[in-house]
């Protein structure tokens, strides 16, 4: 379509519009050809194309070809949600040399084709959306990415398995690590376990059970690593600074300590549910213990021998009942979420009891067995073969009668109610975020979810929770040890990657001040949650003006709205850019009358 009168040097002008049929996912509900036809009359539009799948390889080649052969400057796309494939599409154009800030994509799939069954209506809506994209694209401005330098050190919060693993990986790559642990020892909750899934023993040497052999090497490794500075009995108090250079204040027994770090890994872990919150389970009676307490009994028996004895009178229990899902999967009695590990560890403990004391009758009362781990099924089958009784159904209560304890439970498989005289009752308690983790989330500006665990930016990808801040292990949600370690390794790898580059590019979707308009009132300074704005005197003009630190700015735009003189603008969301869309979409009826 190149005009022969134009010379090669002539500047690029106008907007190209591309509509994606998404392999008919959009095309089926929206008449894209009709929209394209209509848009051709628009003087701002130099070319319109409909493609089957812009995000596919062919689609990207097509876009690149278009950019090479046609003289447009900006691009408006109607396709899927820009949060899904938007990057792929704009990246293709960027590779070919286009400024990616001159790209606008509107969502005609999730928010149009998929939710409006009437083709006529959907087409109308898609058309107005695409036109609003054109209106906005017209107002976009070319920008450069921000280059952010990244400091070469890491702060790790939490010295459990996840924190230790991340510390070791990062230290091995040659970076300085500050490892902050709230308690007086490393190892976290895992260190207190008697055995781990799936080997059903401590997990490493298998010669004998001893907790020392599992974690001690790791703890020793951490303590001896010259790149790792361990701070015990310490807590993070404050974080300032921006992406790449965060300044953190830590309270240590030796007084406050301040460190500057490029990346942060949060591994604050979880705690177990307090079964006192469910009174009908009679936790507190000596015959009723939690699985964590049983772990301690198992550890003690391993170290000193003497079998498994119940706390009440030191007798060997003849009937042991495990109650699953204590504090899990029931919002009214604790938490709505499934804690994921309890089925596995309860079966492990049951097998251990059976091994030490083959005559004991062992029951596990469960709702469903959930063990999303490799080897779980085999583990469960072995338990059944060893004679452990699995009873499907809820436990209504634990009844205490003189010195006897009974479990009242339903067996939904045989449709009977059971009343089992039980001399030891073990409550399989679920996981909750560790104490103080909400504090950490606040300090680091990380979102938390309804279950109060830390929330990923995109739940589909294990990734950053905030720029340069990663979360590993059970701080993100209940999970097994192996998976915590995996997350720690992946968080460490991301952090190393970032620090190795030493700098990173970041989209310049940030606020900036028009100093001519700024009156230095300071409202924006108070509005900013990231302390990115400061009001400073401008010596040249002798007035106060706001200055925005681009690196600290997260681009939310709150300051732009707070500014009473419209002196603050946000790249990509300038007044005229959003208003172009607002206008197009509000007036639609008049303009779409073609």
């Amino acid at each position: 379509m190149a005009d022969p009168a134009r010379t090669k040097e002539e500047e690029r002008k106008g907007i190209a519009v591309y509509l994606c049929s998404c392999r008919n996912e959009i095309g089926r509900h929206v008449d894209l050809e009709a929209i394209a036809e209509g848009l051709k009359k628009d003087p701002r539009v130099v070319t319109v194309g409909v493609h089957e799948a812009l995000c596919s390889n062919e689609g990207q080649e097509y876009l690149k070809d278009e950019l090479r052969s046609k003289k447009f400057e900006r691009v408006a796309v109607g396709a899927c949600s820009p949060n899904i494939q938007g990057l792929i599409v704009s990246r293709a154009l960027e590779e070919e040399g286009m400024n990616r800030y001159l790209f606008e994509q509107v969502n005609i799939r999730e928010q149009c084709a998929w939710v409006h069954p009437e083709k006529k209506e959907a087409t109308r809506k898609a058309k107005s959306l695409v036109k609003s994209a054109i209106a906005r694209a017209e107002k976009l401005q070319p920008l450069e990415d921000i280059i952010i330098p990244i400091k070469d050190s890491t702060l790790i919060i939490g010295g459990g398995v996840s924190g230790m693993q991340a510390a070791l990986d990062i230290a091995a790559a040659g970076y300085k690590v500050y490892l902050v642990e709230r308690t007086d020892e490393l190892g976290g909750r895992t260190y207190k376990l008697s055995m781990t899934f799936p080997t059903h023993n401590c997990g490493i040497c298998c010669i004998q059970y001893c907790r020392e052999c599992v974690f001690t090497p790791k703890i020793e490794d951490v303590l001896q690593d010259k790149n790792i500075e361990v701070m015990l009995n310490s807590e993070v108090e404050e974080m300032t600074g921006g992406f790449g250079a965060r300044h953190v204040r830590i309270k240590t027994p030796k007084g406050p300590r301040e460190v500057d770090v490029g990346t942060i890994i949060v591994a604050t872990g979880s705690k177990t549910f307090d079964p006192k919150r469910i009174p009908e389970l009679r936790y507190g009676h000596p015959n009723v213990i939690s699985t964590t307490e049983l772990e301690q009994i198992l550890v003690a028996q391993r170290e000193k021998g003497g079998g498994i004895r119940r706390p009440l009178d030191g007798k060997v229990p003849k009937t042991v009942n495990f109650i699953q899902c204590v504090g899990s999967r029931d919002k009214t009695k604790g938490n709505a979420h499934c804690s994921l590990v309890c089925c596995t560890y309860a079966i492990g403990q049951a097998r251990e009891i059976k091994k030490i004391n083959p005559d004991a009758a062992v029951y596990i009362h469960y709702i469903d067995l959930r063990g999303p781990y490799r080897g779980f099924e085999e583990f469960y089958n072995a338990a059944k073969e060893e004679g452990i009784n699995f009873v499907r159904g809820r436990v209504s209560e634990v009844v205490v009668d003189k010195d006897k304890t009974y479990v009242r439970a339903a067996d939904t498989d045989s449709d009977t109610l059971l009343n089992i005289d039980s001399d030891l009752i073990v409550l399989a308690v679920g996981q909750e975020p560790a104490d103080g983790s909400d504090q950490i989330a606040k300090i680091l500006h990380i979102q938390t979810d309804i279950d109060r665990f830390m929330k990923d930016i995109n739940p589909m990808f294990p990734s950053e929770f905030r720029r340069g801040i990663y979360v590993a292990g059970t701080a993100q949600g209940p999970k097994g040890i192996r998976y915590s370690i995996e997350e720690a390794k992946s968080a460490a790898a991301s952090a190393i990657d970032l620090m190795k580059k030493g700098k990173t590019k970041f989209p310049r979707i940030v606020a900036f001040v028009d100093e001519e308009r700024c009156r230095g009132c300071g409202r924006c300074e108070k509005t900013c949650e990231y302390e990115a704005i400061t009001v400073v005197p401008d010596p040249k003009r002798g007035v106060l003006v706001s200055r925005i630190d681009e690196i600290r700015c997260e681009g939310c735009g709150a300051c732009a709205v707070a500014c009473c003189n419209k002196a603050i603008k946000v790249n990509g969301y300038r007044l005229e850019q959003v208003e172009a869309m607002v206008t197009e979409l509000s007036e639609e009826e008049v303009t779409s009358d073609e």
């Binding site: 969502n107 998929w114 949650e529 959003v578 208003e579």
Partner: protein, 155 residues
């Protein structure tokens, strides 16, 4: 309400509404929660009346009163602002600002002769596709009942 029934009741208009009135509804969604919630509604194929148009901003706190006034001036019949639930804003406290601002905006709108119900604030998280659908259906019904915007000759 089943999807079909909901859709029907919305597209047929509320009790006092005009049968053929196709309202123009603008929805501002913050990028992190509500836009994702709207996407989830789409992925779950939750059908909705087709009169709303979403504009994405990074945070609900970026929704300038000017955007809302401009929308009404240009003929929008209703404006919905959707953000993350309280305490859930990706930018920490943005949605609290939005909440205060919207309360004021309603008063302002009234002074301009608009029914304050033409502006609505709703919290929709990334997991609440159904809530997004419900909100859109309800709001469309409200606007249908209120009728054409005073800017376009309604009352």
């Amino acid at each position: 309400m089943s999807t079909d029934a909901a859709h029907k009741s919305a597209s047929q208009g509320g009790n006092g509404g005009d049968e053929h009135f196709e309202p123009r509804i603008l929805v501002f969604c913050c990028n992190w929660c509500s836009y994702a919630g709207a996407d989830l509604a789409g992925v779950s194929r939750l059908q909705m009346p087709p009169y709303f148009r979403v504009i994405r901003t990074m945070c609900s706190a970026r929704v300038d009163p000017e955007f809302i006034m401009r929308a009404f001036q240009k003929g929008a019949d209703g404006v919905l602002v959707a953000g993350c639930h309280p305490a859930d804003c990706h930018y920490i406290g943005g949605n609290y600002r939005t909440r205060r601002r919207m309360a004021l905006m309603k008063v302002l709108l009234q002074q301009f002769g608009f029914d304050p119900d033409r502006l609505r604030l709703e919290w929709v998280s990334a997991g609440e596709g159904e809530k997004f659908q419900k909100t859109i259906i309800e709001f469309t019904n409200t606007i249908k009942e209120l009728g054409v915007s005073p800017m376009k000759g309604g009352e």
